[in-house]
Symmetry: C2
Subunit: 250 residues, 2 copies
């Protein structure tokens, strides 16, 4: 059974696929896949490069193949708020709109799989499955955004940091081994302190202080500035302020 790892757009949960999470199964979708293959192309960006500026004309939609990108909004006076973190298989752009609503920036080296918007829209009208899959993904993103609203509006700085670490730990874990050694998780932060601050609605100084505090309290260990060891994912979760049943999204 062939897997087309980079046409992430058609990703779905297919019980017959060896990779169930956001994998693409050719035997279910061969038609659409073929058509998608015909209109797709790749673009690469270096870490730090801007993919597109808010307000720019955007004549494509795309999905992330490898690397990490961010969506940010900026106010005239320079205040910045990150509103989305794009990881492999995440989708950018929206059918039916011609200009970008946010700045999209590559925070690591990035490869995107792009589709020109016009043919993509035509394909979408012709193949209902794509619209349904896109709806599903958009609803997930909406849930994540709302979870984030709770964080931004009501959580303390410490809870915000813990929540971000928990999210990264979780997503990282799901990309790699199905389960690392029970309870403990190790990962590299893909964001600078400033980017973390922009995501959490804090200043970079506060981020730094809270990271130090979590380290002092034994919730995390740091090797260098980016390499994080979480000895017990449960103690981290306790710091997030969330229900412990762990229904966290993103």
């Amino acid at each position: 059974m062939a897997l087309h790892q980079d046409s992430h757009l058609l990703a779905h949960d297919c019980a017959d696929c060896p990779i169930r999470h956001r994998a693409v199964c050719a035997h279910c979708e061969s038609d659409e896949l073929t058509k998608l293959e015909q209109i797709k192309y790749y673009r690469s960006y270096q870490a730090g490069q801007t993919v597109i500026w808010s307000g720019d004309r955007m004549d494509f939609v795309a999905s992330v193949v490898t690397g990490i990108a961010t969506l940010t909004q900026t106010m005239e006076d320079g205040r910045r708020q990150m509103v989305g973190l794009l990881l492999p298989s995440d989708f950018v752009g929206r059918p039916g709109r011609s200009t970008a609503a946010y700045d999209v920036t590559a925070t690591t080296d990035l490869v995107m799989c792009c589709f020109r918007k016009k043919p993509f829209e035509e394909l979408m009208s012709a193949t209902p499955h794509i619209a349904q899959r896109l709806l599903e993904m958009t609803l997930d993103e909406l849930d994540a955004a709302r979870e984030w609203m709770l964080l931004l509006g009501r959580k303390t700085a410490r809870e915000k940091i813990a929540s971000l670490l928990a999210i990264i730990a979780r997503r990282d874990a799901s990309l790699k081994s199905p389960r690392s050694s029970r309870g403990s998780v190790i990962f590299d932060l893909p964001l600078t302190r400033e980017e973390m601050a922009d995501y959490l609605g804090l200043t970079l100084e506060t981020v730094s202080r809270q990271m130090s505090a979590l380290k002092k309290d034994g919730v995390i260990e740091l090797e260098g500035k980016r390499h994080v060891i979480v000895p017990s994912i449960n103690s981290l979760m306790e710091e997030t302020g969330d229900d412990t049943d762990g229904g966290f999204l993103v």
Copy 2:
């Protein structure tokens, strides 16, 4: 030309309809409309009543016919964050999920047009137009949520209040006359101070103080606690911190 005002779900912008904004035009959609008519039913709620609790089983999707409802999230210790405001024609619930993710509460008397989830999902697979319309609405909501993330993360209390008033003024205006007397807007707040606070990530005292401050500075006038007069929508917009070109959503 017949209008089916309450099957809001199929709402779309039809150039031939007298009401272009989220109206339903029978001649475009007669088939789907007929099927939707067969599975729909109505429910009414009184102001203050809870429509559904987060975590409850939810075997329907629905759209608001009249009145206003809110989506809120609550932390164990009682901190609350509103994550959505549902106005007439807005959609609640999500195909493919069986439990509610948020508390849904009626803030005014409310009438909802409901569809049992199972037949609705079947209908959605059969009629691609519905999924596409739903996708469009969900993308709009996602944009609104992201706009709100900027507000929650980076705006001052005064900017938050001004932004909320601007949003209500705009939505209210679009429901009523196409254009009220150039520049000035009058409306009734559909929310208590506490609800405003939950929406804005503030306390009710801060909301009250900032409302008083805006009044003192002549940005708004108040008659009683709820009736708001905005003498100049432009001066209000200047207080929001947003770009003045006015691309505001929700």
